[in-house]
Structure formats: C-alpha cells, structure tokens
Assembly symmetry: C2
Homo-oligomer: 140 residues x 2
DNA sequence: CTGGATCCGCGATGATACTG
DNA sequence: CAGTATCATCGCGGATCCAG
C-alpha cells in the first residue's frame, strides 16, 4: 500500500497533483513569499552557495561542507532544489553508489545574489548582534 | 513588574538573558545561517521591501501593503527587525495612537539586494513552477 | 556510499478575543 | 489605531533504524 512514497507521500496520482497545486495556490499568492520562503529552509541558501563554489559535489562532500546539517535535511533540501530545477542529480550506477549534484543555469543565476547576501550578513553581523544586545538591556 | 515584556514571555530577567544568548550561540554558529534564516521568516523580506519603498509607514499601512499577514505576525516581524537594528519604531503619544516604522541606514543597505532577489523570483517563477510540474509527472 | 522510512518534540504561525 | 494574551495546530527538523 505504501510502496514508494518518496518524501511527501504519494498515493493517488492525479489526486495528488491536484492537491499539490491547490496547496501551492494557497501559499503561493505571491512569488516573493513563495520562492523566498523556500530559499531559507535554513539550509537552502547555504547549499546553493556551496554548490556554487564547485562544479559538482557528491552527497558526502556536501554534508562535510555544510556544518551542522543532518542527513535527512540535506536529502530534503536537495530534493526540493531538484524539484525547483535549481540543480540536477546524476546517479552513476556503480558500487558503491555515486551521486553528483550540480547547479543548473537557473541555479547558477542565483548564486551571485546569494553570495552578496551572505557577504552582507558577514559584514553586518557585528552591528546586528550589538543591536540585539542593546535592545535587551533597554528593556530590563 | 512585567511592564513591557514584549511578546516572548519573560519571567526571570537575568535568567532570560542568559537563555537568550545561549540559544543564540547554538543556532548562530555561522552568520549566514543566522541572518539569512531571520530574513525569511516568510514575512521579513516582504516587510523590508515594503518599507524600502516609503520613507516611513504606520502599522495599519503596512498591514494593508503586505497581503495575508496577520496582525500578530506583523507585530512579531517588526519587533525582530527593530531588535536587529534594521528599523526604528517611533511612538507619537496621541489619541488615537500613532506609530511609525522606518528603516535605519543598516536596513536601507539591504533593500537593494532584497529587491534584486524578489525581481529574480518574479522573473523565474515560471520556470520554477514548470519544473515542479514536470518533476511530479516524472514520478507518476 | 547514498539515501528512504518513521517517530516525535518543539517552535513558528494563525485565529480569536481583549485593551489603552 | 496599535497592539497584547491565549490557545490550538501544523510542519520543520533531529534522531534513529533500515536498505540497495
């Protein structure tokens, strides 16, 4: 009954698609909210940037390069990015298995902006942290 | 005693601060994950961009300009941004109350990038949606 | 090596009602 | 107008075990 249910359970076929899109329609009233909320699954941006620095990477390599990510979250994140067409997943049928992840042109077109954003974060971290500190002190 | 304790329940005072920072330390191993995950509370980016288009806005104005946001979430988002020093909150002591929100220079320095990002989202939405569609069909 | 499947807690978010 | 307080829900994300 529940043979291969990918990550988000697929039983019906048409029914599922319908649900998928109606769900989408609800959340995705606006592309900004939609795409942007995807981008920061907490791991997505990091993943894209990491991939942006290489041609392609394997699962284990990614896991090492993204500190703190769990196996599951890496899998989920990669699948989502694949769904969105931001990266490709290539399986080499060998033993042991070898799978390579690589950004698509669409994915590449994002990397620049994300790096800028992370640079901004790095540069302004100090101010933000100090601001948070002061904010708390003000209230006590 | 608990005069203005914002939204996140504060009982102790020193204790609370301690927890706050230790929590921070845990999540904030890296500035990218930290700042970036804040940015897309699903509403934050939208809020910053909206404020970026005006000099300053009032609570209700913001609520109207950000479709779908709840009163509560707007409050929370604004408070977080204030904490981080990205905007200022000015209260005019009158009846009825008047509160204005305005980006700080730090906040303004982000607007450009966020607009770029949302432009990207708008431009590539179609591809992403189609990609998702194809992805589902492939699996069925 | 590269994940899939499951269980589960906690925090984020929404709905609703109330206030100065 | 601009919130605050409270409750209920729901999905993220971690831990763990399993498999090709």
């Amino acid at each position: 009954m529940e043979v291969t249910n990918s990550l988000k359970a697929s039983k019906g076929s048409r029914e599922e698609i319908k649900n998928y899109f109606s769900d989408s329609a609800k959340t995705k009233h606006c592309p900004i909210t939609d795409i942007l909320s995807r981008l920061s699954d907490k791991w997505t941006i990091h993943t894209i940037i990491t991939l942006g620095k290489s041609e392609s990477l394997r699962f284990t390599e990614l896991k090492k390069l993204i500190p703190g990510i769990s196996q599951r979250m890496l899998t989920v994140t990669l699948r989502t990015l694949e769904e969105d067409g931001l990266l490709t997943r290539t399986i080499f049928p060998q033993i042991p298995p070898r799978v390579e992840y690589k950004l698509t042109p669409l994915g590449r077109s994002l990397v620049g902006q994300l790096i800028e954003l992370s640079d901004w974060a790095n540069e302004n971290m100090v101010h933000i942290l100090r601001s948070r500190e002061e904010y708390i002190l003000k209230k006590v």
